[in-house]
């Protein structure tokens, strides 16, 4: 049997990605750092390290610690700020052979606006990921996406300022993530991406001290994959815009799982540190999976999870398991 190559293209708002595999924010810097390790021409795109209005030095050390099948980080959005970004990073980003999604985060609505205008004006971004979910900056960081009203406020303010697709990046540290996703959708988000890291903590019993310089940080890596899948599953049932799934993708088959649950695209994170070829491997596996499934397009796999009707389901964040 011969099959035509399945199409790997997916759409996120007005942006068409050549395949659904992205590298997550905070993992690959601005692309250049990994240029000898990741073949960017093979993947869908990258999300830049989050850019803030003003330069940030980040949090005191230690900023990373490994846990069981996971890692905690408390980077604190170290970045050159909007001006530094435009000056130093944009020229480099322009040369990248893949879609560039620029991640931004403000401490208030005005900063979000400045960032969206600045990034939009630079012409380098194919889309903007609105990071309203970082647990490592405060006091506003987590608030914007733990509260539907605040999420609405930000999204409504920035929506008129750009034609670029806006992707709202959500925190999983909430009771009902579907509510926040729906609020973002209602205020013009073209897509939502999730999950950002889970708030976690590590302690050194010998020194009796917290290990991270900031006491708490964000958990990522394979440990969180089951949690991330459940959050994506919850959100895909609550919104109509594309959902970009991530959290613990370590093997190419993990990427397939996120697609089946309903992600239109996926982002590879922490596991790239160990395996820089992971994103490319995910693209290959998605292609061969689609071929084996004999579907003409990867779009046919999105949300193709087979959930028997009599089984339980989540709707809008409530677990409805059969008695």
């Amino acid at each position: 049997m011969t099959h035509a190559s399945p199409s790997l293209r997916v759409r996120v708002g007005s942006l068409t990605l050549r395949n659904p595999v992205l590298v997550a924010s905070g993992i690959i810097g601005y692309g250049q750092e990994y240029e000898r390790l990741v073949d960017l021409s093979q993947i869908g795109g990258i999300v830049t390290k989050t850019v803030t209005r003003h330069a940030r030095a980040g949090n005191p050390p230690p900023r990373v610690v490994e846990t069981a099948a996971g890692m905690l980080n408390s980077i604190g959005i170290e970045n050159p700020g909007l001006e530094g970004f435009l000056e130093i990073k944009v020229p480099v980003l322009r040369e990248l052979p893949c879609a560039v999604i620029v991640s931004v985060e403000g401490e208030d609505v005005q900063e979000f606006c400045d960032l969206v205008e600045g990034v939009s004006g630079s012409g380098v971004a194919h889309a903007i990921e609105v990071n309203i979910s970082c647990p490592n900056v405060g006091p506003h960081g987590l608030r914007y996406s733990t509260d539907a009203d605040m999420a609405r406020e930000v999204m409504s303010a920035i929506r008129p300022l750009t034609q670029l697709p806006l992707i709202a990046k959500l925190t999983p540290n909430v009771t009902r993530i579907a509510d926040i996703a729906a609020a973002c959708e209602a205020c013009g988000a073209d897509a939502v991406s999730l999950v950002n890291t889970f708030v976690g903590m590590a302690v050194d019993s010998r020194t009796r001290k917290p290990i991270l310089g900031t006491v708490v940080g964000g958990l990522s890596g394979p440990a969180i994959k089951p949690l991330a899948l459940a959050k994506v599953w919850e959100v895909v049932q609550a919104v109509d815009v594309p959902v970009i799934g991530m959290g613990g993708i370590t093997h190419p088959r993990d990427a397939i799982e996120f697609l089946l649950v309903g992600s239109t695209a996926v982002q590879v994170g922490t596991a790239l540190f160990s395996n820089p070829e992971l994103a490319e491997a995910c693209v290959k596996e998605i292609e061969s999976y689609a071929r084996r499934a004999e579907v003409p397009s990867v779009a046919d796999l999105i949300g193709a999870l087979d959930v028997p009707a009599e089984r339980g389901m989540i709707r809008a964040g409530r677990t409805l398991a059969p008695r």
């Binding site: 905070g26 750092e33 030095a57 980040g58 230690p62 093997h251 596991a271 160990s274």
Partner: protein, 270 residues
């Protein structure tokens, strides 16, 4: 810097809990400088999640065959897993990474090694000898059994110190350094210090150097995730005068691991 496959040529316990690992690398692996490191996947399994950074103890080139050497202690799960890798095991690594030692022309290099921190300094001493540059090797360890590599050092004077007095000076390598300086043989214009070892020792050496205006480079250690400057997970705290106070954190993986020891804020370095 590249991602390359490598295979275990030898992984031998040469002192209790301390291993010498030789990894065959392909030609795609660039010739490393002393003080540079590699980011090693310690197991083909997905556990542990992150790679581990290791300074190079040496680089061997024989005909078409290239190999790197790492000297490591078993302390946690990464190194424990590494110690279990048999000969022939295929692994992979990213490297060579970071900035190595940068000796100035016409100066005597004073190498100050503490324990297994000797590894990059052994590599460095070999290079100095090749270039026929004068150096002094001060090496302190807990006991004679941990004085790995001394017998191999050529081309420079060696002074040893042990905590238990089992060989050499009975005391710390810092004392050896002070004595050397007190001998009056060296001045900040004729000599400079290169050190690697526990951060406590590096801190003391740095203070000694700073107090006398001696140039001093130290090879640092700390947790790393990407090791290529992307994640910003390896900040080095600097003293206020040197842009510290949170104004800027250099990334240990690309601005280090060898750094000017006198600008590091050792109190805030974990």
């Amino acid at each position: 810097m590249n991602l390359v496959g490598c295979s275990v040529v030898e992984n031998r316990e040469i002192a209790p809990g301390n291993f010498l690992l030789t990894l065959k690398v392909p030609r795609g692996f660039a010739r490393p400088e002393p003080g540079q490191f590699v980011h090693l996947r310690v197991s083909p399994e997905s556990e542990p999640l992150l790679r581990r950074p290791y300074s190079l103890e040496g680089f061997v080139e024989r005909g078409k065959i290239r190999a790197v050497r790492i000297y490591y202690s078993v302390v946690g799960r990464g190194s424990r897993v590494l110690a279990s890798q048999p000969k022939g095991q295929e692994l992979d690594l990213i490297g060579p990474l970071g900035v190595g030692f940068t000796p100035r022309p016409r100066r005597t290099s004073v190498l100050v090694a503490g324990g297994r921190g000797v590894a990059p300094l052994l590599f460095f001493a070999r290079k100095l000898r090749e270039k026929k540059r004068p150096f002094l090797f001060l090496f302190g360890a807990r006991s004679s059994r941990e004085l790995y590599g001394v017998r191999e050092i050529r081309g420079g004077r060696i002074h040893l110190a042990t905590d238990d007095g089992s060989v050499g000076y009975h005391g710390s390598v810092l004392d050896l350094l002070k004595r050397q300086w007190e001998s009056g043989e060296h001045t900040p214009l004729t000599a400079e210090i290169f050190t690697c070892g526990p951060h406590g020792l590096l801190h003391e050496v740095a203070e000694f150097a700073a107090g006398r205006g001696i140039r001093c480079e130290a090879s640092l250690e700390g947790p790393m995730a990407c090791a290529v400057g992307a994640c910003r997970g390896c900040p080095v705290p600097l003293l206020p005068g040197a842009g510290g106070n949170g104004g800027r954190y250099p990334a240990m993986c690309i601005e280090g691991p060898v750094m000017d020891a006198t600008i590091v804020d050792w109190e805030r370095l974990p």
